[in-house]
């Protein structure tokens, strides 16, 4: 995505030294989007809190079994859970895993999806056929069976730390979700590659890589951002599901997803337990969504044209 400003410049027919000016235009457009700025701040706060989790005076697994389900107080800001653990601390630590899984698996998903969708849509022909059949094959796998198979494979492999690492979770989630962005991007490429400006670029001697990455891709930024924000939310929830199948993060390490699913069983006694992780996931996803909105507006070549 770092190429994008360059591409916009070319489209605007401006000299390269104006990069700085354009970056300023984009930044200004982004800053104009109030919600996006607010969302960026909110996300920054969430990330900072998660990063600073170790400042909490409690350990995330420290228990007081005699004090379960306490209401928020001066000693426990958000109260305690079923084992008397400090919920605030667990939410902070949980954010580390959940944010990492959410952000990185989304990046990986989108990267994979864009790559495959772009190649498939741009080149067409046998490559399109091959890549799309692979995509179809992945789509037809029943997720639960793939996960159970993966679980068995991971159980038997010699590198024990791989089994419960966040890296494994990220890769698994990406491997199971790249197909949707891939098909989306392919569709967009199919349309855009026929457009006049692509023909013009080709006539001017632009090679395929240039056309794909500098000319077509920036026009897809809107749908990509939308797909990404949706993916992020589901990744955070999927993570907690994975630990049910024996890989992924195991208890007592907190994640937002696992706190949420444990809270479900205590819904009559302490309904508020589900609210905290729910609110955190909500804030994060909304923030990513609005940041995506802001970025789309800022980068959209049509908006820039119109604005000039």
């Amino acid at each position: 995505m770092t190429d994008t400003p360059g591409n916009l410049l070319l489209e605007l027919g401006q000299p390269a030294r104006a990069t700085e000016a354009l970056a300023r235009v984009i930044l200004r457009r982004f800053l104009k989007h109030r919600l996006a700025v607010l969302a960026l701040l909110a996300l920054a706060v969430v990330v900072l809190f998660a990063a600073g989790a170790s400042w909490s005076s409690y350990a995330p697994t420290q228990q007081e079994p005699a004090n379960p389900f306490r209401a928020p107080s001066g000693t426990h800001w958000l109260g305690t859970d079923e084992l008397g653990r400090d919920i605030f601390t667990r939410i902070l630590y949980g954010g580390r895993v959940s944010l990492a899984v959410g952000l990185f698996s989304t990046l990986l998903t989108i990267t994979l999806g864009v790559l495959i969708g772009a190649l498939s849509g741009y080149y067409g022909g046998w490559l399109d056929n091959l890549l799309m059949r692979i995509t179809d094959a992945f789509l037809t796998f029943p997720t639960i069976f793939v996960l159970i198979l993966l679980g068995a494979a991971l159980r038997d492999q010699p590198v024990q730390w791989l089994k419960n690492s966040v890296l494994t979770v990220i890769v698994i989630i990406a491997a199971l979700s790249w197909m949707w962005p891939a098909r989306l991007i392919r569709g967009l490429f199919l349309v855009l590659r026929e457009r006049d400006f692509i023909a013009a670029t080709r006539a001017l001697g632009g090679n395929n890589a240039r056309i794909i990455f500098l000319h077509i891709l920036p026009n897809c930024i809107g749908p990509i951002l939308v797909a990404g924000t949706l993916q992020m939310a589901s990744a955070i929830i999927t993570e907690s599901g994975l630990s049910f199948l024996g890989f992924g993060v195991q208890p007592p390490t907190p994640t937002w997803g696992s706190i949420l699913s444990t809270a479900q069983t205590h819904v009559f006694r302490a309904p508020w337990l589900a609210i905290y992780p729910g609110v955190m996931i909500f804030i994060t996803v909304m923030a990513i969504n609005y940041i995506g909105d802001g970025l789309r507006d800022a980068f959209d070549p049509y908006v820039i044209h119109a604005g000039k």
């Binding site: 697994t61 420290q62 228990q63 079994p65 005699a66 379960p68 079923e82 084992l83 008397g84 159970i148 679980g151 068995a152 159980r155 038997d156 089994k163 419960n164 630990s243 049910f244 199948l245 024996g246 195991q250 208890p251 007592p252 444990t262 479900q264 069983t265 009559f268 006694r269």
Partner: protein, 595 residues
């Protein structure tokens, strides 16, 4: 079917459903397949004159009672299913058999005139022949007489492998023949003695005239509209909604049942269930999933109360005594850490059992110290190693495990482990069962306090209880500690042999072996054999207690607590008794209800 419904909202229900399928696999050696599996009928032994239905005082007039069940049974044929929900309905209609286990855990006769014993000549001296005598004048719900031939037919069905019976088949393969010298007498001939003979016809009789061919059992119309000997009979089944049962006019006990109608409503949503109880639109709720009795009363506006009864699911930690992750399922190489008894004792000393029961499980469970926590074989053994952190630390120091940099001990002169090995163990359990996870998390903190690291690794139920061929870690010996809830049925010998015999270590040659701890103890083998060699219950109990003592002193297992079953009963419902061994309707003929 729906293990999730029950699981999410009801730990005990989940354990039951989950455990059932485990038991089916584990129980093939002869014990009844489902836990706590008997039938429904009288609490009091029936007096013979009670069978004279025609002279009985009028029953009925007691109105309609609504009962909430979280999921729909797919059959009311107890034998054709291993789902725990089936008998919660079937107990009221089709599961009235020759005898029953009452709330005290003792067998009492129901349709039989008396229990066959050596004293009354019902059990032959060589234990190879059992004579059952039916009460005179018994009738099926359709008015046909109940005869000894129906006992014979029940055996014919259960012993026919094409019938595909899933429950209640314990010891059936040991029956050589059933003879019926007259209408009221059935003589069961055994090829070898079976100590659990009293449990064999306790799950209900199958009427020859109203069912079908044994090999077609799965498709009998009887399964959904059984002709039974129970207090009620099915009159309407609205799939997905409700099952309606009306009073059986031919019920054998005079003046019973008092109620006219039972309507089982299928309501999966716990919140909706509680709302029905609160409004007084239902009188009985199965497995409410609220683990505090006072809280339950509050939620339903004091219209009903939750009654808890000790269940059969006993939560215990298994120790792997053989080296894990070495592709060798046998016990030849000792576990590098757990092979040392002192380490196992230290772990036993490190767990705060009282807090576990009182705070972590909030007193919803009963403490247990050994495998025999209920039933006629209950052993009240004191805890072998009490919670004592200082003692745990001392034992670990002695065993050559010294404090490490991060608080976790490392080996320095330990018995089996190389110097520098971290005292880190994988604690396996199964997922999707919140109380189990809570227990694990608590034990992890307990062990951390003495410098032992336990890494929780929960797998799906199908993996933990999978087969040897499927590489289940339990079977191939790839675990350090394994925690789950297990149960024993009324006749436990088959399970006990499977679980504790040193020859039953799972391996390629014995893939179904149940000694996954790889525990080899000659005294234990002797005790198990003793328990199986006699029909004398007190001698058998003594042998089981010996075994319980050995297994806990040698710390091959640590037993923690037994779950309780909960039932919600409306305050205006009376006459019920709850039983470890029975379903919620096991004594429904005694209930009465005032609007």
């Amino acid at each position: 079917m729906n293990k999730l419904t029950a699981y999410w909202f009801n730990p005990v229900a989940a354990a039951r459903l989950l455990g059932c399928s485990l038991l089916v696999a584990a129980c093939s050696t002869g014990a009844p397949a489902a836990p706590a599996a008997e039938s429904a009928a009288a609490t009091q032994p029936a007096a013979p004159e009670a069978a004279a239905v025609l002279d009985a005082p009028a029953a009925g007039g007691g109105g309609t009672v609504f009962l909430i069940i979280p999921e729909e049974p797919n059959t009311l044929n107890y034998y054709a299913s291993d789902a725990a929900i089936v008998r919660q309905v079937a107990d009221a209609t089709s599961m009235t058999g020759l005898d029953i286990v009452d709330e005290k855990g003792e067998f009492v006769p129901v349709l039989a005139a008396e229990l066959p014993t050596e004293a009354n000549g019902g059990l032959s001296a060589d234990h190879l022949s059992v004579t059952w005598k039916l009460l005179p004048g018994l009738k099926w719900s359709d008015g046909e007489p109940i005869t000894a031939d129906d006992i014979k037919f029940t055996w014919e069905v259960l012993s026919n492998s094409s019938a595909g019976a899933l429950s209640g088949t314990g010891g059936v393969d040991l029956i050589a023949a059933v003879e019926t010298p007259d209408e009221l007498t059935a003589v069961v001939k055994y090829s070898s003695p079976y100590a659990g003979y009293l449990a064999q016809f306790a799950y209900g009789l199958l009427p020859r005239h109203a069912t079908g061919k044994p090999e077609e059992m799965a498709s009998w119309a009887w399964n959904r509209k059984p002709v039974g000997a129970g207090p009620f009979m099915v009159t309407e089944w609205a799939s997905g909604e409700s099952i309606t049962l009306e009073r059986n006019p031919n019920y054998y006990q005079a003046g019973k049942p008092q109620l006219d109608k039972l309507i089982f409503r299928i309501v999966p949503e716990p919140a909706a269930q509680l709302a029905l109880m609160m409004q007084g639109d239902a009188q009985v709720q199965l497995w409410p999933g609220v683990d505090d009795v006072a809280e339950y009363a509050k939620i339903v506006g004091n219209k009903a109360k939750e009654v808890l009864v000790p269940g059969v699911w006993n939560m215990a930690i298994d120790f792997n005594l053989s080296k894990p992750f070495d592709k060798d399922p046998s016990a030849t190489v000792p576990h590098p850490i757990l092979g040392d008894l002192r380490v196992r004792q230290a772990i036993a000393h490190a767990i705060d059992y009282d807090t576990l029961v009182k705070n972590v499980l909030r007193n919803t469970v009963k403490p247990s110290t050994n495998p025999f926590a209920y039933g006629w074989y209950q052993c009240d053994l004191p805890r072998a190693y009490l919670f004592d952190v200082a003692k745990a630390n001392q034992l670990l120091d002695e065993a050559g495990w010294v404090a490490g940099a991060d608080g976790i001990r490392v080996a320095k002169g330990a018995q089996h482990a190389e110097d520098g090995t971290r005292l880190s163990l994988e604690l396996q359990g199964y997922t999707n069962f919140e109380p189990l996870q809570r227990t694990e998390e608590f034990i992890v903190e307990n062990l951390k306090a003495v410098g032992v690291e336990a890494r929780i690794q929960n797998y799906d139920f199908s993996i933990i209880f999978g087969s040897y061929e499927d590489n289940s870690p339990r079977m191939i010996g790839d675990f350090d500690l394994l925690i789950f809830d297990r149960s024993l049925s009324v006749e436990p010998q088959g399970d006990i042999e499977d679980t504790y015999f040193s020859t039953n270590i799972p391996s390629a040659d014995r893939p179904a072996g149940g000694n996954s701890r790889r525990w080899i103890n000659a005294a234990a083998d002797t005790a198990v054999k003793e328990a199986g060699a006699t029909f004398d219950l007190s001698a058998r109990k003594a042998a089981y207690c010996k075994l319980g003592d050995l297994v806990t002193k040698d710390v091959a297992q640590i037993f923690t607590y037994v779950f309780q079953d909960g039932y919600g009963f409306a305050n205006n419902l009376t006459g019920y008794t709850v039983s470890t061994w029975g379903s919620m309707v096991w004594d429904v003929q005694n209930w009465s209800y005032s609007k």
